[in-house]
């Protein structure tokens, strides 16, 4: 067990003939992920690196049985790619693309919301979007759907959710002895498709996950919202780290979402909210692994 992706997940790559798409489609396949093909409009019917290529996501779903899409489409076209995947009935959409305009993502979210509402009424599975601007999702030993280095992961009981890519790897590296159930990078954009609460709920329900590491950063209120949720619904131990404790206000720290504005979104506020909800907050990023072992031992 794990969350959202496993051996049975059938993945297509949107933008498979591009440089990034090609590289990572192969990387995922090499890890053991069931990559069933790719989509590049105008190149349908051909093969690329032994992957069958389709013109549309709908084709890929019907002909190759895809239920998950990994998106490497350039920023100007990525929101459209997300909507196409949703429209085709893809259940899990993982968007790696960085730099999508907020207005485009607002439209994509609106499309997903309306399409999903229709689908739920018809008793069909809605689409979940992970990202954009994220490393993807991995269930060690089963499926890697993203750009993370697969070999540092190991199957185990720790669920990891993070707004930052390389900090996710850092948490994985620190839990290399016990291993991870699933690691999800939700991305550094202001409007992520999947948020902390979605992941926390899924980890809480997942029998394979015994404890959770959540990695937040400055900006927004997603961590504060997660704290309220954890207090009410999560019984598994949670360790949290917030990046940007030393970040000055008004400066965007790389991620579009990482900015302290108007005195809110600071690391201190987030750490207080998380601690008040009974979450084990570590100040040093190097303590995530150590702390999770401690809290699991005492649980």
């Amino acid at each position: 067990m794990a969350i959202w992706v496993d051996k049975s997940t059938r993945v297509i790559v949107q933008g498979i003939t591009g440089r990034e798409g090609t590289f990572h489609a192969k990387g995922c396949r090499d890890y053991g992920t069931n990559v069933v093909g790719g989509v590049t409009p105008g190149k349908g019917g051909t093969t690329h690196e032994d992957f069958p290529v389709f013109d549309t996501v709908r084709d890929a779903r019907e002909k190759a049985g895809a239920n998950c899409s990994l998106i490497f489409v350039p920023p100007a076209f990525a929101a459209d790619a997300v909507m196409e995947a949703c429209d085709a009935g893809i259940e899990l959409i993982v968007c790696i693309t960085e730099g999508i305009p907020v207005n485009d993502m607002m439209k994509a979210h609106d499309f997903l919301k309306k399409t999903n509402a229709r689908r739920v009424t018809a008793n069909e599975t809605p689409s979940r979007l992970i990202g954009p601007n994220c490393p993807g999702i991995i269930t060690p030993g089963q499926a890697k759907i993203g750009i993370m280095p697969g070999h540092i992961h190991k199957p185990g009981p720790i669920g990891i959710v993070s707004r930052s890519g390389t900090l996710t790897y850092e948490a994985v590296g620190q839990t290399r002895d016990i291993g991870q159930s699933t690691a999800v990078g939700i991305g550094g954009d202001p409007l992520p498709g999947t948020n902390f609460i979605d992941c926390l709920a899924a980890f809480q329900a997942d029998p394979a996950t015994e404890a959770i590491i959540m990695i937040g950063e400055i900006g927004g209120t997603a961590e504060e919202d997660a704290a309220v949720y954890v207090k009410a619904f999560v019984t598994k131990p949670v360790v949290a780290f917030i990046a940007g404790q030393t970040a000055p206000p008004g400066r965007r720290m790389g991620h579009a979402g990482a900015i302290i504005s108007g005195g809110t979104g600071t690391a201190a506020e987030k750490m207080n909210a998380l601690a008040a909800a009974g979450i084990h907050v570590v100040k040093a990023p190097s303590d995530m692994g150590k702390r999770i072992v401690e809290v699991m031992g005492s649980a």
């Binding site: 750009i147 280095p149 070999h151 930052s164 790897y169 850092e170 590296g173 990046a243 404790q245 040093a284």
Partner: protein, 388 residues
């Protein structure tokens, strides 16, 4: 991206949003002519990318064109310090000469993204001219918030709700409703991330105008707004940060003495945090991005070292796609080329990390290797204090 007040108003006018008549000037002569054209009685406003200009002496009333020229002479070249510029302030290079109006009311109107709702929100308050964050802290009920559907746009009833909340009636009410709808269009169509009208002016004659305007834009959408990109003023940005951006490096200068070079924004922030926890002060934020090639590392080194405060550098790379041996080669060749004027601590993790460490060791360079972030942070802080 940020623009000046006069540029933001230029954008507003394109969308029919009323603003006072104004002319930008970079010499006292130009200011004189502008004031003449505007009728003599004008306001001279220093153009810098920061708020709070009035308190810092950057906004002054001139009764005549001669006075306007005199004030412009004082302001041009002066360093204006406000609560938003930091103690170093900003140099004034342009002034906006604007007609002086008969003020009846000063209100507040702003549009920005509400991340929790995933929608743009219009904020309105009758307490204009004040810092909206102050209003929000003191009396959150004094701010009306109206969330706008991303597909439908602002509806007439929503614009009316804003105007009612500002206590307007009659002609001013109607003009405000129109103002709100046009401002929203300007905000959405230019991919703005902030449009703030503070104050929104109601004149004694019942006109509604943007007396001040601040606009920020979504960097990710600039590719489709060439006209906005042309408004970028590099004088308002740190030259090192501008240079870094040419190399695809995300660099932000800070006040400490421990330079850092990291891949990934989150890990870069976390590296700054751990330097502080270890008793040091980070000199910068620097994200080298996904690939740390020799060229990237070299550029990053150069930019970090241009900051003369830097006494030691920490390189913290978690190699994912980029292999550790390649990163190590990059660090070694960059170090050879640039030399190592300060101690450099390297922490490598991820793919081919052992091979990478071997390369660093075999290079014979005085690079200090570290295992894990805490070890790296304590070593670099000690080095910066001259205890390496």
């Amino acid at each position: 991206m940020k623009v000046h007040e006069y540029q933001a108003k230029e954008i507003l006018r394109r969308y029919g949003v009323p603003t006072p008549r104004g002319i930008v000037a970079d010499t006292p002569d130009e200011a004189f002519r502008a004031a003449k054209e505007l009728g003599g009685r004008v306001v001279v406003k220093a153009q810098i990318h920061a708020g709070g200009r009035g308190k810092g002496g950057g906004v002054k009333l001139a009764k005549t064109a001669d006075e306007a020229a005199g004030l412009t002479k004082q302001m041009l070249g002066m360093t204006l310090v406000t609560h938003q510029t930091g103690p170093e302030g900003r140099i004034v290079r342009k002034v906006l000469i604007e007609e002086a109006l008969n003020i009846d009311k000063e209100l507040y109107l702003g549009i920005t993204l509400d991340r929790r709702l995933g929608m743009n929100v219009i904020m309105a308050s009758a307490q204009g001219g004040m810092d909206i964050e102050e209003v929000a802290a003191k009396d959150p009920n004094a701010i009306e918030r109206v969330a706008v559907d991303s597909v439908l746009g602002v509806q007439p009833f929503q614009a009316r709700r804003v105007a009612y909340s500002l206590g307007l009636s009659g002609d001013a009410f109607k003009k405000c409703v129109d103002f709100v709808q046009k401002l929203m269009r300007a905000y959405v169509e230019t991919d703005a991330s902030l449009a703030e009208i503070n104050p929104l002016l109601v004149t004694k004659e019942g006109d509604v105008l943007a007396l001040d305007c601040k606009m920020n834009f979504d960097d990710n959408a600039l590719y489709r707004h060439k006209d906005v990109v042309e408004m970028r003023d590099l004088h308002e940005e740190d030259p090192l940060e501008v240079e870094a951006s040419h190399f695809g490096l995300n660099y932000i200068k800070l006040d400490g003495n421990v330079g850092c070079m990291v891949n990934g924004a989150g890990l870069a922030m976390a590296t700054m945090d751990i330097i502080k926890l270890a008793g040091g002060e980070p000199a910068n934020f620097l994200d080298v991005g996904g690939g740390a090639s020799a060229e990237q590392v070299k550029n990053a080194f150069r930019i970090i070292l241009s900051d003369k405060n830097v006494k030691a550098i920490l390189i913290n790379i978690f190699g994912g796609i980029m292999r550790g041996d390649r990163i190590a080669e990059g660090v070694v060749s960059a170090s050879r080329e640039i030399g190592l004027p300060v101690p450099v601590v390297v922490r490598l993790e991820g793919t081919n990390v052992d091979l990478g460490k071997q390369i660093l060791k075999d290079s014979g360079l005085p690079l200090i290797t570290a295992d894990g972030m805490w070890d790296a942070a304590t070593k670099v802080v000690a080095a910066a204090k001259g205890q390496a």
